[in-house]
């Protein structure tokens, strides 16, 4: 049973866009507080549906969402709690992803680690945030959500699920939303550097080690540019440019994979 007090506090996070000043509206006698709470609960259940988990203690959910832009300035006291939750959620996420990957794939340890890095990276978590509707919901402003905040909120949400429902509940969420992306990463070896992928393919198919040659360099005070050519034997396969050698070689390798249709 959730007390009215908690639900009222929660209102600040879960309120719909446009209903900013609560007291004004009630003075005008517009919408009754009952409706507000009902509407809010509906949105909460929408999020819970996407997450696939129903919180028994809403306070956890509230803390997990405290860093979202609409809650800022109102739930100051919860920010520290939110960061603590994110700290826990980060560890929970990593452990569950690693365990899942170890069960699914026979890859050696360092590759498991690399696959994990892709799955728990900020852009990935920001995608998850969009999938569960944090971006378009009443929690975000019209400008949307910064990737950093979105990713942190997903981690905090995982911490909240873990605290409220335990390991199993957190595992189900992560399996459904995050681990399902692993197969793509593994099948296409996306967790490897493009240069590494190109070299392996070239060695396997043609038994040749590819080489990179510098084809142009320009350096001004504020920027530098390097152009690399990717060669198999003496034949040029692709080229790439970038501000440093690493970026240029990655681009060249990606172009090379495309040109050889090894993807």
């Amino acid at each position: 049973m959730v007390s009215i007090l908690t639900t009222q506090r929660e209102y600040y996070i879960l309120r719909p866009i446009g209903s900013f000043n609560k007291s004004d509206k009630y003075k005008k006698g517009g919408i009754g507080i009952e409706d507000e709470i009902n509407g809010m609960m509906e949105m909460r259940s929408e999020l819970e549906k996407e997450v696939g988990y129903v919180f028994s203690d809403v306070a956890y959910l509230r803390r997990a969402l405290a860093r979202l832009p609409r809650a800022e300035g109102i739930l100051e006291g919860d920010i520290a709690e939110n960061e603590r939750m994110e700290f826990l959620g980060d560890a929970v996420l990593e452990a569950i992803v690693i365990e899942g990957l170890c069960e699914m794939y026979p890859h050696p340890g360092n590759e498991i680690e690399k696959i994990k890095m892709g799955l728990v990276s900020e852009p990935m978590l920001a995608v998850i945030a969009r999938e569960i509707g944090l971006e378009k919901g009443p929690w975000a402003t019209r400008r949307g959500l910064k990737a950093e905040i979105a990713a942190d909120t997903v981690e905090a949400l995982i911490g909240a699920i873990y605290l409220d429902g335990g390991y199993e509940a957190a595992r189900q969420f992560i399996e459904k939303r995050i681990l399902c992306h692993a197969s793509e990463s593994v099948r296409n070896e996306l967790y490897k550097k493009p240069t590494e992928r190109f070299r392996e393919q070239a060695l396997n198919r043609l038994h040749v080690n590819p080489t990179y040659r510098v084809e142009g360099k320009s350096k001004t005070k504020s920027s530098s540019q390097i152009v690399l050519g990717l060669y198999i034997g003496s034949e040029k396969v692709a080229g790439g440019e970038g501000t440093n050698r690493r970026i240029a070689s990655w681009r060249a390798a990606m172009n090379g994979l495309k040109a050889m249709e090894w993807n």
Partner: protein, 245 residues
């Protein structure tokens, strides 16, 4: 019985862990799957040397153990300390850095059970310490897989989190370079710079030499295997040269 670790029971050539019983005595419980325990104690270097007879090493278990060690420590800190996120992160890294892991491994007397490669046995103390830390992580992974979450958690609480007070007293993880920069800015308002002064090749070993400059004049010179190591030694010498330590 299914073996997720990848060890093959049918392979009779695999031996058990050296002095398994004494290891289990140290742990206070037995690991049912002996091959798992063996896997946790075989270093990657040994596997590389004995590719025909040794199908596994502790790499995978290490990854698993590291993740769950992180989780258990994080959860303990979260539930028991009022610290903010930054404080907890510092404490966690102090509890799980390799120095602490080596210390814990030594307390457990893990070294005699590790199946090491010949390099690790003979070579520098650093390699041996590294394999001790790795074996400890892998052991946590093996306990988790064999005895379940709660036993593994208890193991981590008893052996690692018990050093919480030490971790708290550890000087904040400031490197010599950080300290030098702080002092230079405070006392002289200058930002120190590191300049590569050359690579020395003495026989097989590559050495990198770095100069530490402060406002155009060279304060100290450091040398090391990698640039980071060279900078660290330069900063340490710089602190001494300026009398700031």
């Amino acid at each position: 019985m299914e073996l997720k670790g990848g060890a093959n029971v049918g392979q009779a050539t695999i031996e058990e862990v050296p002095m398994r019983e004494s290891l289990e005595h140290k742990l206070g419980f037995a690991i049912e799957n002996k091959w798992l325990l063996r896997e946790a104690m075989v270093s990657g270097a040994y596997k590389a040397e004995h590719q025909d007879s040794e199908p596994v090493s502790n790499e995978r278990l290490e990854v698993k153990g590291r993740a769950f060690m992180k989780l258990f420590v994080a959860e303990y800190l979260f539930r028991n300390l009022p610290e903010r996120e930054g404080g907890m992160t510092k404490l966690r890294s102090a509890l799980t850095d390799w120095k602490m892991l080596v210390q814990v491994a030594d307390e457990l007397g893990l070294e005699e059970h590790i199946v090491m490669g010949s390099d690790e046995k003979r070579d520098s103390i650093v390699n041996r310490q590294r394999s001790k830390a790795i074996a400890l992580r892998a052991l946590v992974g093996a306990i988790y897989q064999d005895r379940g979450c709660e036993t593994a958690r208890q193991f981590v609480v008893e052996n690692i989190i018990s050093h919480l007070d030490e971790a708290r007293e550890k000087p904040p993880g400031q490197t010599a370079a950080d300290r030098f920069k702080c002092e230079a800015e405070r006392r002289m308002g200058l930002v120190p710079k590191y300049r590569l002064n050359g690579k020395r090749n003495t026989g097989k070993k590559k050495r990198i030499v770095v100069e530490l400059c402060l406002g155009g004049s060279v304060v100290a010179e450091g040398e090391g295997k990698r640039r980071s190591a060279a900078e660290r030694s330069a900063a340490r010498k710089g602190l001494r040269a300026m009398g700031w330590d």
